[in-house]
């Protein structure tokens, strides 16, 4: 399991990286944490001729939390996000999602942008990005900056809207202002830290009376991309989230999933899990008693 031969360049600057990506197009690939890319290269499922290492570009690192949006450099390590208290207050779903991501070794190295660019449909961070409707900032030499919503970014398993010469440089996570923001993330994997057979996430905002004022929800692992359901989320607004409502919304969402089958879970089971997990995260975020405990 040794990678096919490739040339390696450590980018000196973002421009340098973009130059290389422009010059070598589909033959080149940016590498950030490499936690998905390197194993794929070891299995020779990915074989870039040139690796452009963007790990040491300060411009792509760090988090700035603003009132409406938290801007995150694409190569910010997952572990740094996990430990960032200000970011946690601003975008609580991130830490909830990261609790399910890999292990300490992989989160030390893995980056947020890397996970999004890899676009595994059962990965946790792409689901969080879809649920929160994050904006992904792409840059290229020819096209300059391009901004895509998560919904437009993820196209299919391991396929995104990023052009070959484009590099994901930043992610803008919407910050929900005001009190009463709660979130929940839950998934089922046979082994902790593995990709989910199905995952569900939500972030909601309740007023002082417990009425939902804002909601976002989605499912992972049950289609070629993570799924967000803004229309279903809208149905929660102005209502108290109780068992029956959560169940209805969850079932409606699960009905729109298009899960695949593999050795661990068939499509029917995944769809079932989707409904169960989404109902649970809604109730948990809303603080309502869940029918079956976790």
């Amino acid at each position: 399991m040794k990678a096919a031969p490739f040339a390696y360049v450590r980018a000196e600057s973002l421009d340098h990286a973009l130059d290389l990506l422009a010059a070598y197009g589909g033959e080149a690939k940016p590498i950030a944490g490499g936690q998905s890319l390197v194993p794929m290269m070891a299995m020779r499922l990915a074989r870039p001729a040139l690796l452009v290492d963007i790990n040491r570009l300060p411009a792509l690192k760090g988090v700035a939390v603003g009132p409406r949006c938290a801007v995150m450099g694409a190569t910010t390590r997952q572990r740094a996000v996990e430990e960032d208290a200000a970011l946690h207050r601003a975008v609580p779903l991130l830490r909830a999602a990261l609790a399910w991501v890999g292990h300490v070794q992989t989160r030390n190295r893995g980056t947020v942008g890397g996970s999004l660019a890899h676009a595994d449909p059962s990965a946790e961070l792409p689901l969080a990005a879809c649920v929160l409707d994050a904006t992904l900032v792409l840059q290229s030499r020819a096209g300059g900056e391009r901004r895509l919503s998560a919904a437009d970014f993820f196209l299919a398993p391991m396929v995104t809207a990023a052009e070959e010469a484009e590099c994901l440089t930043a992610i803008e996570w919407p910050v929900w202002e005001g009190p009463g923001v709660a979130c929940a993330f839950e998934e089922v994997a046979i082994r902790h830290g593995d990709f989910a057979m199905a995952a569900a996430a939500c972030q909601i905002q309740l007023d002082a009376d417990g009425v939902c004022r804002r909601a976002a929800l989605g499912l992972g692992g049950v289609a070629g991309t993570p799924l967000a359901f803004p229309d279903l989320a809208a149905q929660l607004e102005g209502r108290r989230i109780h068992e029956r409502l959560a169940q209805e919304v969850a079932e409606a969402a699960a009905a729109r999933s298009e899960p695949g089958s593999d050795t661990h879970a068939d499509a029917e089971y995944r769809r079932h899990l989707a409904a169960v997990l989404l109902r649970r995260v809604l109730l948990r975020a809303a603080g309502a008693p869940a029918r079956a405990p976790i």
């Binding site: 031969p5 040339a7 033959e27 390197v38 290269m41 300490v104």
Partner: protein, 164 residues
């Protein structure tokens, strides 16, 4: 078109000493340590980022050395199992506890386990059972069932003696 890659000299600070070798760009950090530096304490188990046998500290943080190319680590500091003891012929508190609590059998996952546990104790001097299990969750062991590893970490953190 790209020219075929040629070997490149890379220098990495390993266990406090700058070490240099000429490697193909595709050489992973674990192969660099084992094949080029002869530091065979770091083991290969899966080469796809699951088993944790190849764990090393990179700038003090545990990472999987099979999921990194040596060139990415140029100039950075790496600590391997060979660098955990305070001095030649001595054992660290954690290594000592692993011996005392019989936290290993075949020894193959042990270097990675020690790296993960070393990092845990550096962050959290008195971890709970659950925290220990989470910290080693990415290090697979087929011999011990993990129980005596958990015991060893508790012993090393002064929480309980493995033997009366």
């Amino acid at each position: 078109m790209l020219a075929p890659p040629s070997p490149v000299t890379v220098e990495i600070i390993v266990n406090g000493t700058p070490r240099r070798a000429c490697v193909e760009p595709r050489t992973t950090l674990v192969d660099f340590l084992r094949e080029h530096l002869g530091l065979t304490g770091t083991h290969i188990g899966c080469e796809h980022g699951i088993c944790g046998a190849c764990s090393v500290l990179l700038e003090g943080e545990p990472v999987r050395a099979c999921c990194l190319f040596a060139l990415q680590v140029e100039g950075l500091s790496v600590t391997t199992v060979e660098g955990l003891a305070p001095a030649r012929g001595e054992l660290s508190r954690l290594q000592n506890a692993f011996c005392e609590a019989h936290a290993l059998q075949c020894g193959y996952c042990t270097p990675g386990m020690l790296i993960a546990c070393h990092d845990l104790l550096a962050r959290n001097p008195r971890p709970s059972e659950e925290e220990i299990r989470e910290a080693i969750g990415g290090n697979l062991c087929r011999c011990t069932g993990y129980q005596q590893i958990v015991d060893a970490v508790k012993l090393a953190s002064g929480q309980e003696a493995a033997h009366g």
